[in-house]
């Protein structure tokens, strides 16, 4: 298993390098940071703009190959360059990554677990009211864009706040300023963070759950009538136990593949969520960077996203190996 994973890791590093380089080349060729300076009044002299852009490695009059070389050498040393206004990309990148992870991980985790359970349950109750309800709900959620869902939830939360006459739900930003210095100290700060996390988590979890439940339902339907579930029942297991112990485990195996692919979907959903709930994470930064022509930031985020997708792929390989002994035997040899 370890050798197999190492080989996979090597593969993935090559892929990540290719994806990041392509993203840089595309961004450097298409985006125009010069426009930021030219649009200023008074317009700075050409030579000043050129000198500034050259210092930031953003000058479109330097050849693309040279710019790429400079950038790549920096990345090899762990430096993603500077933003168009001269600040280092690295520091901002890690800070924003932290924000995004805090925003996305609870929702992603809850959503996938909930989706798998709901999907499995719907399959077991195929054709009954519960199945139809879950199916309808998940289609509805899949059809509603994330930002609409976020806004709808905010409206509902505002009504609830009004009805209770208390500020129970909060949805702007990560924290309320000063909450950590209130009566309850650090504990109050944590509670405040959780309060702010509630709505975004629900939003992400709901879309994720809808996505996963569809797949899980289909997979579970396939194992529902398999011979080994019948064998389990012939042993004396009740239907529910047989399906949980023998069916669900087998039906989870193909899910590990979807896990890798749904990561991209999650990052996209996160972008909308950040905008809707006023979190200053990676998604928001990417949108800003593209509109400002900030090549280095776009490349850095692309690199991180590529690494993220590939590690999700690696994680799904590990999960696949853990769940399916047949793969394990083949890989170990």
């Amino acid at each position: 298993m370890a050798a197999f994973l190492l080989r996979r890791l090597g593969n993935h590093v090559v892929l990540a390098v290719a994806a990041t380089s392509l993203a840089y080349l595309l961004a450097a060729a298409a985006l125009d940071p010069r426009a930021n300076f030219e649009g200023r009044a008074p317009r700075p002299p050409e030579s000043v703009v050129d000198a500034r852009l050259t210092r930031l490695n953003l000058n479109d009059r330097t050849s693309l190959a040279v710019r790429y070389g400079t950038w790549a050498a920096g990345v090899l040393h762990g430096d993603f360059g500077r933003t168009w206004d001269g600040r280092p990309v690295n520091a901002e990148l890690w800070r924003r990554l932290g924000v995004s992870v805090r925003l996305l991980s609870p929702g992603a985790f809850l959503g996938s677990a909930l989706g798998i359970l709901l999907g499995a349950y719907a399959a077991i109750r195929q054709g009954r009211a519960a199945d139809r309800f879950i199916t309808l709900g998940s289609y509805l959620l899949l059809a509603v864009p994330v930002f609409v869902l976020a806004v709808l939830l905010q409206i509902v939360a505002a009504k609830a706040n009004d009805a209770m006459g208390m500020h129970v739900f909060a949805w702007v930003g990560e924290t309320t300023p000063g909450a950590a210095h209130g009566t309850f100290g650090a504990l109050g700060g944590l509670a405040d963070r959780m309060r702010h996390l509630l709505l975004p988590t629900v939003t992400i979890a709901m879309t994720q759950a809808a996505f996963y439940s569809r797949y899980q339902r289909g997979l579970m339907l396939d194992v529902l009538h398999t011979d080994f579930v019948r064998t389990a029942r012939a042993k004396g297991l009740r239907r529910r136990t047989a399906l949980l112990r023998h069916g669900l485990r087998t039906a989870l195996i193909p899910m590990t593949t979807y896990f890798a692919y749904s990561f991209g979907f999650l990052v996209l959903g996160g972008m909308f969520c950040e905008q809707a709930f006023g979190w200053h994470g990676m998604g928001e930064w990417l949108v800003e960077a593209i509109s400002r022509g900030d090549v280095n930031v776009v490349a850095a985020i692309s690199c991180l996203a590529a690494c993220g997708v590939l590690s999700a792929g690696l994680a799904s390989d590990v999960l696949h190996g853990v769940l399916d002994p047949r793969v394990r035997a083949g890989a170990a040899a």
Binding site: R7, G10, H225, T231, R233, K235, L237, I253, P325
Partner: protein
């Protein structure tokens, strides 16, 4: 003492005819009831209804009593306390019937724990004990292995271990050996027999194989279209069948024993009509009364032998029921050695390299699929390649069909060496070599009409099908002109295989390669297709190379037979010689393992069962490849055994008789040269 009593059991799907209709029987402790019928007769629906696991939307009525306790209509919770403890089940396909993700030991232990509440450790220990009981070597270690690490026979042993885990009162076994080779089938039946003796359980054995029932069951129940049409003690029913369907079934079986020389009467499939006896359209002794009510079972013999037939007077003499077909016209053929050679194979080799790893692929070994085989097929004769699954018989066939340069050795078709062929000549030669595949469901394009399927070979060679040729071909294989416009899914299995044969015959080939052409068909349909093949060979003078695993089918249809084991031909010769006095211990073991559809003969037979499974094809044993399973090798002295260990035996003639051409690759054959007939 009756432990399992079934009365008037009916399984009905949402609409349409019931799958099982009013079936009833009793099975006593330690007794075996064999339930026989063709596919679609309702055997599996019956089994699943008995254990309370019918498919969804099925309605089960009637009564199933286990030790007097009613099972039909109980809730899942109540039934799950009975299932696996008092009433156990063995399923057909051991590959899909075991959960792939759990170790087999845990799966057996689960069956123990769910009923006895034993501790995890105690249940594990019991699982190992059970695996040992069903003959799995190294049980303690193998208990931790997953199902995919076992062979088919070993998996079925695991299923049996699971079934007897709680000393059940009754076991329902649904086609427990249908997916296995004959040699392994014999082993598994022995295990089932041992399990019966260990638990004293009543067994309901469901099968399509009349030979298995003859050797294993005490009583038999024959099913047709969901009804029990005849039942009684096995010996009585086999000796004096009274229901025309049973008579036809027994007569259409290809037989290996002496009684099998007569040409059996084919019974063609027909859909059951509404009302009256379902067998009516196929029955040669049907009378007007048959169209009336469903025939009730009437007592026709001793010990409760009943048949559901209104015209039992007509079946008093079973042999007179089906008119014997006219004997096949045997064209006067020149002696074998004067006929031209159609196919010549010499030293043919096909090795598959085995790679491991994803990024860096390493050569991990070689599968010796075909490892130097040689034979010839002459005009108007049938050579059969037989052997267990994985012995390389289909690979050999496909290698010949390629008409290309083999990895090693030589293939010559109609005198032309395939290695020297240019593209145009190869394509032209393809007209003379055609193939019929095993699965008539998968080998026809579901989106093409029968007429187009049959005319396709012409199009493939840039020809126009001559007018009326399709109709002629349909007629040749016994299909009606109306079939030309149908799609394959509108045909029965036997009809589809006839379409496959018609397609192969379209270009008037000289050599027909047949890959298990009747293996997927029911016995009565098999007989019809084999008749067709025999008739075509007699009329058109085609040579057949016939791959099969069923030795009874081969006995019926082949002139010569080549027995393969691990990529080698271990024995070759005329069917009479090889079946009559097999020289190679493997041939003997294969023949011994085939159950005879005659209870008296079957129970009298003394057989030396073949142990174990074929060894790993990447690492055959040194010297003789069959050594690891050979019953003769174990009985040899040290000096004689050395030869088997050190020298790979080469084929040599087994008789000095000039007429004989029996060759075997064995150092210590069962018949010696010179001692021949």
């Amino acid at each position: 003492m009756t432990v399992l009593a079934v009365r008037n059991l009916t399984v009905r799907y949402a609409q349409g005819v019931p799958a099982v209709c009013g079936v009833g029987f009793d099975v006593g402790a330690g007794e075996v009831l064999g339930v026989v019928g063709e596919s679609g007769a309702g055997k599996t629906a019956l089994a699943l209804a008995m254990v309370g696991l019918p498919p969804p939307h099925a309605r089960v009525t009637g009564s199933v009593r286990l030790r007097g306790e009613e099972l039909v209509g109980r809730s899942d919770a109540e039934l799950s306390r009975v299932r696996g403890r008092d009433l156990a089940m063995v399923f057909q396909d051991p590959l899909s019937a075991l959960t792939p993700v759990h170790p087999v030991g845990d799966q057996i232990a689960e069956a123990v724990r769910v009923h006895s509440g034993a501790t995890r450790a105690a249940a594990r220990a019991r699982a190992v004990e059970l695996l040992d009981l069903v003959g799995i070597p190294g049980a303690a270690r193998r208990a931790r292995a997953h199902p995919h690490e076992f062979s088919g026979g070993m998996r079925q042993r695991v299923m049996i271990a699971m079934a007897i885990a709680n000393d059940p009162v009754a076991i329902v076994a649904d086609e427990p050996t249908a997916a296995l080779d004959v040699t392994v089938q014999a082993q598994v039946l022995d295990v089932l027999k041992a399990a019966k003796e260990a638990t004293g359980a009543a067994i309901v054995l469901i099968t399509h194989d009349l030979g298995v029932v003859a050797g294993f069951a005490d009583r038999i129940m024959v099913m047709y279209a969901g009804r029990a049409v005849e039942s009684g003690p096995v010996e009585e029913v086999y000796r004096r069948p009274r229901m025309p369907y049973t008579i036809g079934l027994l007569q259409s079986l290809p037989r290996m024993d002496a009684a099998g020389t007569a040409r059996p009467a084919p019974v063609d499939a027909a859909p059951p009509p509404a009302g009256g006896c379902a067998f009516r359209p196929r029955c040669p002794v049907a009378v007007d009364a048959c169209a009336g009510a469903d025939p009730e079972p009437v007592l026709v013999g001793p010990a409760g032998h009943t048949a559901a037939c209104v015209n039992t007077e007509a079946t008093a003499d079973p042999d007179a029921v089906f008119p014997l077909p006219d004997p096949m016209p045997q064209p006067a053929l020149a002696p074998r050695r004067e006929r031209p050679v159609v196919l010549e194979v010499d030293g043919l080799v096909r090795h598959h390299p085995l790679y491991r790893g994803t990024l860096l692929r390493r050569r991990a070994g070689t599968v010796h699929a075909v490892d130097g085989i040689g034979f010839d097929v002459r005009e108007a004769e049938t050579l059969a390649l037989v052997g267990e699954s994985g012995c390389g018989k289909t690979t050999a066939l496909m290698e010949i069909l390629r008409l290309a340069r083999p990895q090693r050795g030589r293939v010559a078709v109609l005198g032309q060496d395939t290695a020297a062929l240019r593209r145009r000549r190869r394509k032209a030669l393809r007209r003379d070599v055609q193939v019929v595949f095993q699965d008539p469901f998968a080998s026809l394009d579901p989106r093409m009409r029968v007429a187009d399927i049959i005319a396709e070979p012409f199009a493939a060679h840039g020809l126009r099908a001559p007018r009326g040729r399709v109709r002629e071909l349909l007629d040749l294989v016994g299909l009606e002109p109306v079939h030309a416009g149908r799609y394959p899914h509108g045909l029965s299995g036997g009809q589809r295989q006839r379409v496959g044969i018609a397609r192969a015959l379209a270009l008037e080939p000289r050599l027909l390669l047949l890959d298990e052409p009747v293996a997927a068909l029911d016995v009565s349909v098999q007989a019809g297709v084999m008749d067709l093949l025999e008739g075509l060979r007699a009329r058109l003078g085609i040579a057949y190379l016939f791959v099969a695993h069923d030795l009874a089918v081969v006995h019926r249809i082949a002139d010569r037979v080549a027995v393969m084991y691990m990529g080698r031909i271990v024995e070759i010769g005329s069917v009479d010689e090889v079946y009559g006095r097999p020289a190679h211990p493997y041939t003997r073991a294969l023949l011994d393992a085939v159950p005879l559809p005659d209870p008296r003969l079957e129970r009298r037979r003394r057989r030396v069962p073949l142990r174990g499974d074929p060894p790993d094809p990447t690492a055959p044993p040194s010297g003789c490849r069959f050594r690891s399973r050979c019953p003769r090798y174990t009985a040899l002295g040290a000096v004689d055994a050395r030869r088997c260990e050190e020298h790979d035996p080469m084929p040599r003639p087994m008789s000095t008789d000039r007429e004989s051409d029996q060759w075997a690759a064995c150092h210590h054959p069962l018949v010696e040269a010179g001692s021949g007939t």
